[in-house]
């Protein structure tokens, strides 16, 4: 994300002008823009209400009423009424802006809270960005996905039926496996930009990933597929216990991958999540989840690490959002760690399903007992 202009007032309101650079920035924008904000961007609109009328490019400002995000296409659609005077478009007419990479836009908010600023800063910090493509496969099932700083996106799922082995004649099975590998091979250039990507991880049980790699290289050689051949060094073969998406994180434990992931958001998230689970498993009363429990812990200033998912802040209920922003601020002001998990990553997805807020404490504390006591009082 490129920040072009930042004009904030004392009361927290103000305008920012930004240019999103890639799909990931659109995801950050999705977290930043809320209903009620005013957004200005170049758009196209049919001026005359008749068939075949030409679409004209113009700049419009709207007050956002509805937000749609499409992770696959990397677009954010904002719907609302126009708020600026335009010679052709009357005030208060409905319009939909589509935010895309490389499209400059102005965002006005009544209040830029700390979460929005944090997201913006993260989006602008491209030093730690690391995009990895991963193929997890088992016989008959493969997922091709993109692991970026803020999201894990499944670009393609390939599922075929492979006959099981049979004594005597196994040609059917071998043919089907080769066909399956070929399907993956032909999907790669369509869904992965091999030039931009840092690494392509092939993972799965047994010898499957190794065979896939060999097949890909063979096919690329015979077809003289230069992009693939040049990216040969980027391919990594790792172990995972299955071809399902939940095995991806096993593959990401691979040492080589870990090195390149260490400083990324993904790496941090995984580390903290592992710690959280370990604590939970040991039952040492240091790991808690749920908004009420965490709020209590924050009140007692016992929190060491606060974990929140970005989906919490997307709540259209202003009070909800304020509640989490208050938690965020409180912990940060104490100088403790706050992590915003991307709900598009595996760990964030899991956190989301347990209310989206969790914390690790500095010392064991039975929050259940605390609430019992309160109830008695």
């Amino acid at each position: 994300m490129r920040l072009i202009r930042k004009q904030l007032e004392r009361d927290g309101s103000g305008v920012l002008t930004i240019v999103p650079q890639d799909n990931e920035d659109i995801w950050y924008l999705y977290n930043i823009v809320q209903e009620g904000d005013e957004v200005t961007a170049i758009t196209s609109r049919k001026l005359a209400n008749e068939k075949g009328a030409p679409r004209v490019k113009l700049t419009l400002q709207i007050k956002v009423a509805k937000i749609d995000y499409d992770a696959g296409a990397g677009t954010l659609r904002l719907n609302g009424r126009t708020t600026n005077d335009h010679k052709d478009v009357p005030l208060n007419s409905f319009h939909t802006l589509q935010l895309e990479p490389q499209l400059k836009c102005d965002i006005y908010k009544d209040e830029w809270d700390s979460f929005a600023i944090n997201q913006l800063e993260e989006a602008c910090d491209i030093a730690n960005r690391s995009d990895i493509a991963a193929i997890v496969l088992q016989p008959g099932l493969a997922h091709i996905c993109l692991v970026t700083d803020a999201m894990t996106v499944i670009r393609q799922k390939i599922e075929v039926t492979i006959p099981k082995k049979r004594r005597g004649d196994n040609s059917g099975m071998e043919k089907a496996v080769q066909k399956f590998y070929k399907q993956i091979y032909s999907a790669i250039p369509k869904v992965i930009n091999l030039e931009k990507i840092k690494a392509v991880l092939i993972a799965g049980p047994g010898s499957g990933p190794r065979e896939l790699f060999n097949t890909i290289m063979q096919l690329a050689m015979s077809e003289e597929n230069q992009p693939v051949l040049q990216a040969r060094q980027k391919f990594l073969v790792a172990h995972a216990s299955s071809g399902h998406m939940h095995s991806l994180h096993e593959a990401l434990q691979d040492k080589q991958i870990q090195e390149s992931l260490a400083n990324t958001r993904y790496g941090r998230e995984t580390r903290v999540m592992d710690k959280f689970f370990k604590s939970l498993n040991d039952d040492d009363l240091k790991a808690w989840y749920g908004p009420d429990e965490v709020e209590k812990a924050v009140d007692l200033q016992a929190v060491e690490t606060l974990m929140l998912t970005d989906s919490l802040f997307r709540s259209s209920e202003l009070r909800e959002r304020k509640r989490y922003v208050a938690l965020y601020d409180a912990v940060r002001d104490l100088g403790k760690e706050v992590l915003i998990f991307s709900s598009l990553h595996q760990s964030g997805e899991q956190l989301d399903s347990v209310s989206g807020v969790a914390c690790l404490l500095m010392y064991p504390l039975d929050l259940d007992e605390q609430s019992d006591q309160e109830n008695e009082n």
Partner: protein, 721 residues
């Protein structure tokens, strides 16, 4: 979605219950009165009847609460009916009897029925028919299958029940079956209960000497309809039923016919009580039966070979196949040559089962291989499972197809221990087999030749492993056999006296142990269900070949089956190498399919073929799970690998409903359950990524048990509830 087995048998609520009860009572009254008169005869009844009654009482004692628990359906009305029946008994000075006892009594008395004349019987029947048929109608309303079929299933089960009753009273007269079936119906036993009574009665039948057995088969089922025809002079409902049975497609009737076949008393072992007594239940397909009876059918058994990687599973199985004559020496010598050429000469026996290029190159079994062999006493199906950690999902599919497990352990120092450590597959496989419902395991302590047949080593492994399998894992039957797969010692032939070090062992060989553990009971009397393990498309033919295991019921060529995802019924063109397939058997079926089914790949490994289109596709379900060792606790939202047979899916934990451990249960009431840790047992709500066929264990055991895995480790097992 919650599955409730009551749903399967509920009658329609709109049924005019009162009227039916009146019917029942008015019909019953004369019988009871006459029976009470005959009661004095009762003392003369021999011990069989006493035993039968006490068993029945036990059964009914169990069934009764379930009746009470459903006050809304017609079952409860039957309890009312029972109560109303008490007064006549009281008149006879038996006021202190509970309704249950009354039921027992009246049933008992019916066994004394010979006193009644044929005319009486006929007249009673006439009165009985309306109530019976009214119940049938209800069932029709409930189930949207064609009429003749329902009629068939229906009457079948009632007749079965009555026959089962007769199986201990038949030395008097078999013709009372109609009254009995009527009385059973009137007392509100659901089909379910009938089945259970059926079983108890049939086990009794077995206890009665085999001489009565013969008379049973002679008299029962053909004479009854004939008598009926004579007395009515017009087609009776029984004829309708019989006709329907002959024409209609019903799993139940086949279930009966099959049993008859299975129990052919050629092999003494097979003719156990269970099967023998069921002979009396035979209803139809007499032609086929006679034909099949002339065939010599050996009992069949399938076992899965499990254990740590490189324990010698495939080699031991190769040896087994060779020594039982199912591998020709020629093929074996070919393997020997080829494996020597590939520089893997010690793998020559394993090559019999490791058929793919990958497996042979790496010397590791990847997928289940299936092989068959026969001994003099039984026929076996071997499912050779991969031992490597990565291929546990394949191993699970093998376990789901097997009756018993053969655990192979390497007796070598270190090798045994490494398989037996925390993440060794000796442990994991044993736990998996147990969680998938197996309770019988045979342990082959392999590679004894490398240990010089050291008895101490054998005993050490036996005590270590025996303790673990019994106490930690919970197997009820564990047997140990020392073997050497590569040298073929104690596999099919006893240890030769030349091997002096092994003189201490005088127990059975591996094959003998397997023969001794052949299970005879199977769910033949249930709906035909078949789990597909492999499906092969035959090019340019309108057929599809599937292999797999018959979970329950029986089927033969010409039967049609349903498969989820395919709207039309599929016809079985042929059962390869056999005339029929019955519960517990591995088989290859050739199905007639059209192009579309073939192109859609609708039948694939993991598919269930079923005679009735009644299997639910489930996405969200409740289950009881037990967790083993795990590093990451399970919290709601966790995604786990879900394995059941060939099914390999992702399941998401939606909610933790309650903890089931005794010690934690009390705790969980006061506390919010936040996570499930090591060793926890809980009732949870799970969601599959795509819907799958799941049933509660009451409907189909195989389709109710599953295993949960995470990060390549088995973390828990569960049962759908």
């Amino acid at each position: 979605m919650r599955l409730d087995d009551d749903d399967l048998y509920d009658y329609d609520d709109e049924f005019d219950e009162d009227k039916a009860i009146e019917d029942v009572i008015s019909a019953l009254k004369p019988i009871i009165v006459s029976e009470i008169q005959a009661e004095t005869e009762l003392d003369k009844a021999d011990w069989d009847i006493d035993l039968a009654i006490s068993n029945l009482r036990k059964k009914l004692g169990k069934n009764k609460p379930s009746n009470v628990a459903n006050p809304s359906d017609s079952k409860s009305n039957n309890i009312k009916a029972q109560k109303k029946l008490i007064p006549p008994q009281e008149d006879q000075g038996k006021g202190k009897l509970t309704p249950l006892q009354v039921l027992q009594k009246s049933r008992q008395e019916k066994n004394e029925k010979p006193k009644l004349s044929l005319a009486d019987l006929a007249s009673q029947r006439k009165r009985n028919i309306p109530s019976l048929s009214s119940i049938k109608k209800l069932k029709k309303q409930r189930t949207p299958i064609n009429d003749s079929k329902i009629e068939n299933i229906d009457s079948n089960s009632t007749i079965n029940a009555s026959k089962a009753e007769i199986s201990f009273s038949n030395s008097w007269i078999p013709k009372i079956s109609y009254d009995l079936s009527f009385s059973l119906d009137s007392f509100g036993l659901t089909l379910d209960n009938l089945a259970s009574i059926n079983t108890s009665a049939s086990s009794l039948g077995g206890i009665i000497s085999s001489s009565t057995q013969k008379s049973m088969t002679d008299t029962n089922y053909f004479e009854v309809p004939k008598q009926a025809q004579v007395s009515f002079g017009k087609p009776s409902p029984d004829d309708v039923v019989r006709a329907a049975q002959e024409t209609a497609f019903t799993p139940n009737s086949k279930g009966k016919s099959e049993i008859n076949v299975k129990q052919t008393p050629i092999i003494p072992k097979k003719t156990d009580q269970f099967n023998e007594s069921k002979e009396s239940l035979t209803v139809d397909k007499s032609g086929l039966l006679q034909k099949l009876q002339s065939l010599q059918i050996k009992p069949s058994c399938s076992f899965v070979v499990i254990g740590h990687v490189d324990a010698g599973k495939s080699t031991l199985m190769g040896r087994l196949l060779l020594e039982t004559g199912s591998l020709s020496p020629k093929t074996v010598s070919k393997f020997e040559r080829e494996s020597a050429k590939a520089g893997k000469s010690s793998f020559w026996l394993a090559w019999a089962l490791d058929a793919t290029k990958e497996e042979r190159e790496r010397g590791v079994t990847v997928d289940i291989s299936e092989a068959h062999f026969e001994t003099d006493l039984a026929s076996f199906t071997v499912l050779d499972a991969p031992g490597h950690k990565d291929y546990v999902p394949n191993m699970i599919s093998g376990v789901s197809q097997a009756d018993i497990a053969l655990l192979v352990v390497d007796s070598d120092i270190n090798a045994f221990e490494s398989g037996f450590t925390l993440d060794g597959q000796t442990k994991e496989h044993a736990i998996l087999a147990r969680s998938l419902g197996m309770d019988h395991i045979i342990v082959a302590v392999n590679k004894m030749d490398t240990q010089g047949w050291n008895e101490e080593r054998y005993l050490e492994i036996k005590s270590l492993l025996g303790d673990f399998l019994r106490k930690k894992v919970g197997f009820s039957k564990i047997e140990f056999v020392p073997t050497s797969g590569i040298q073929g010692t104690n596999v099919a032939h006893p240890i030769s006296p030349d091997i002096t070090e092994a003189n201490w062992y005088s127990g059975p060989t591996l094959v003998e142990t397997l023969e001794n553990s052949v299970k005879s009971e199977s769910e033949t009397d249930n709906t035909f269900r078949f789990m597909v393990s492999n499906a092969y498309v035959e090019p340019f033919q309108s057929t599809l070949t599937v292999t797999g295991r018959c979970i329950s019921g029986v089927a033969e060529a010409g039967d049609s089956v349903y498969c989820i995802g395919i709207t039309q019924r599929l016809e079985i063109k042929q059962v390869a190498n056999k005339e029929f397939v019955c519960a517990g058997e591995q088989a290859e079926l050739i199905l007639i399919v059209d192009e579309q089914v073939k192109n859609d790949n609708a039948i694939k490994p993991g598919s269930i073929l079923s005679a009735a289109n009644d299997l639910p596709l489930v996405k969200t379900f409740e289950a009881k799970i037990r967790l083993f060792d795990l590093n990451r606790p399970i919290i709601p939202g966790a995604k786990l690998g879900f394995h059941m047979g060939r099914v390999d899916k992702t399941v998401k934990v939606l909610k933790i409903l309650e903890l089931l451990d005794a010690k934690n249960a009390a705790d969980s009431k006061s506390r919010k359950i936040r996570h499930l840790g090591r060793g926890a047992a809980a009732r949870v709500e799970l969601e599959l990524d795509t819907a799958e066929i799941l049933t509660p264990p009451a409907v189909c055991k195989v389709l109710s048990r599953f295993v949960l895995r995470l990060d390549g480790e088995t973390i828990g097992g569960g049962v759908v509830c």
